[in-house]
């Protein structure tokens, strides 16, 4: 890396920042949608209706066996075909990422739900709540609190997973870096920069998770 490399980076900064913005938006949206879907998925997996539970199990197993890239290609191909709606690459990536990450999030949440002592559900049922109410007011709040650090870690992994969406042509952080690297024939500074930024954000995120792990459940920890 020399001074002309640094100049290149500075010149391209606005473009790069736009790309970073796309990456962050994608991460945030897919993360939120993924967690919500994950909750639904984990509840379905724990359902007492066997066919439903099996379906959820099949979904999770399948999406955890195949590469993210394959999921993205599927969505990019299928949705326009099925809905006659020409979808942009960004939307495809968003849906693909959500569906993919939901499988991972749901396993985390399922573990959290199963870690809540069964006595809690019984106590809630004994006061006249339905199973859904018990899940909603007693079990899920405890499960999510308990799993919040792990959910955050998974979200950091999601942030790193988004680095492949450039394959669909999306101008996210990596996509922009690719464009500049190709256009100016300067690969080294671009990819080193990308690596550095991902590294810093991911490391900082992990540190935040670690410190949040200490502070997140004061009410629950002391028994």
């Amino acid at each position: 890396m020399n001074s002309s490399d640094l100049q290149l980076i500075l010149r391209s900064l606005p473009f790069l920042l736009k790309g970073l913005r796309v990456t962050l938006i994608l991460t945030f949206l897919a993360g939120t949608a993924g967690i919500l879907s994950g909750v639904v998925l984990s509840l379905t997996r724990l359902s007492r209706l066997r066919p439903l539970a099996w379906l959820a199990f099949a979904y999770v197993s399948l999406f955890r066996s195949i590469p993210l890239l394959l999921v993205l290609f599927w969505i990019y191909l299928l949705v326009p075909m099925l809905t006659n709606y020409t979808m942009g690459a960004f939307e495809s990536a968003l849906i693909g990422l959500t569906l993919f990450e939901a499988a991972y999030y749901s396993e985390i949440i399922r573990a959290g739900i199963q870690a809540v002592p069964v006595g809690q559900t019984e106590a809630a049922l004994a006061t006249g709540m339905t199973r859904m109410q018990a899940m909603r007011f007693v079990v899920l709040p405890q499960a999510v609190r308990k799993m919040a650090p792990v959910l955050l870690s998974q979200s950091i992994l999601l942030f790193m997973d988004t680095s492949v969406v450039f394959v669909l042509g999306i101008r996210d952080f990596m996509g922009v870096a690719n464009i500049i690297a190709a256009r100016d024939a300067r690969v080294t500074p671009m990819y080193l920069l990308v690596a550095a930024v991902y590294f810093v954000v991911s490391l900082a995120g992990s540190q935040i998770v670690r410190s949040a792990q200490g502070r997140l459940s004061p009410s629950i920890s002391r028994v």
Binding site: E122, M129, Q142, S219
Partner: protein, 267 residues
């Protein structure tokens, strides 16, 4: 008609026969203690009453409603019964007051302000008004169990089921919980209590059910049960645990073959 009627029930856990032809009736206002060696099925029995456990034969009715019938609205039935657990099971993510008001608000639809004021009345009643904003993790075992009693009372139950409510408590906290339970009994609450606290049984219960190996061996009025244990089994059981029982109304008594001075609390 009995408030709670258990008619010849049988239950299996897999291949194990845990309840064998049990029958009992509990009238309105009665306090019934269920005791017996561990594994005798006492907890299972009362857990069947509010449907937390299923039965394979026989039937249980609460106020005329069959518990294990498909068409029964189980949540509604349960809301008319209160249950206390050995592990208290207060919700750790909610304050004591929120624990008490959760069911009234979400099941009965009572407004937050009304539920809160009713909840505070109950907490005062069990002596925990000052702790309303605390979390269960900040309370002692005895306080948690009293809080759990307030939580059950919040639904205005017709009867309350106690599954070894003091078994997980340190000795110095058992009394405060038994005192609250005695008050409930005096006020006319129908109670079925699984417990080893024979002092409590002697002082408060109307009837004692003795269970062993899945069957109800004896079902007698309290005094009759203690003065004249109806079977060798019951006699042996009683003699083993009477030494540990606490009196609700402290009465000096001579223990079987023992020196009362040696067992008094001061030593």
């Amino acid at each position: 008609m009995a408030l709670i009627a258990i008619e010849n029930i049988d239950k299996w856990f897999g291949h194990t026969h845990v309840l064998k032809g049990c029958s009992a009736n509990v009238e309105n206002g009665e306090v019934v203690v269920v005791c017996g060696p561990s594994g005798s099925g006492k907890s299972t029995l009362i857990r069947c009453i509010n449907g937390l456990e299923t039965i394979q034969k026989g039937r249980i009715t609460v106020d005329g409603v069959r518990v294990h019938d498909r068409s029964t609205n189980l949540p509604r039935l349960r809301s008319r019964l209160g249950m206390l657990f050995q592990s208290f099971e207060l919700y750790p993510h909610l304050t004591l007051l929120e624990n008490v008001t959760l069911a009234p608000r979400r099941v009965l639809g009572i407004s937050r302000s009304k539920a809160d004021s009713q909840g505070m009345v109950l907490l005062r009643r069990v002596g925990l008004a000052l702790h309303a904003q605390k979390y269960p993790g900040q309370l002692s075992g005895g306080q948690q169990q009293r809080g759990a009693i307030a939580r059950s009372l919040a639904m205005n139950p017709a009867a309350m089921l106690f599954d070894e409510p003091t078994s997980a408590l340190d000795p110095e906290m058992i009394q405060e919980v038994l005192d609250v339970m005695s008050e409930l009994a005096t006020e006319g609450m129908t109670m079925i209590v699984v417990t080893h606290e024979m002092g409590f049984a002697r002082a408060v219960a109307d009837r004692v059910l003795f269970m062993d190996d899945g069957g109800i061996i004896a079902d007698r009025p309290t005094d009759e049960f203690f003065d004249n244990p109806p079977s060798e089994r019951a006699r042996a059981f009683l003699s083993k645990i009477m030494n540990h029982g606490k009196s609700v109304a402290a009465r000096p008594r001579a223990l079987e073959g023992g020196d009362s001075a040696a067992i008094s609390p001061a030593s």
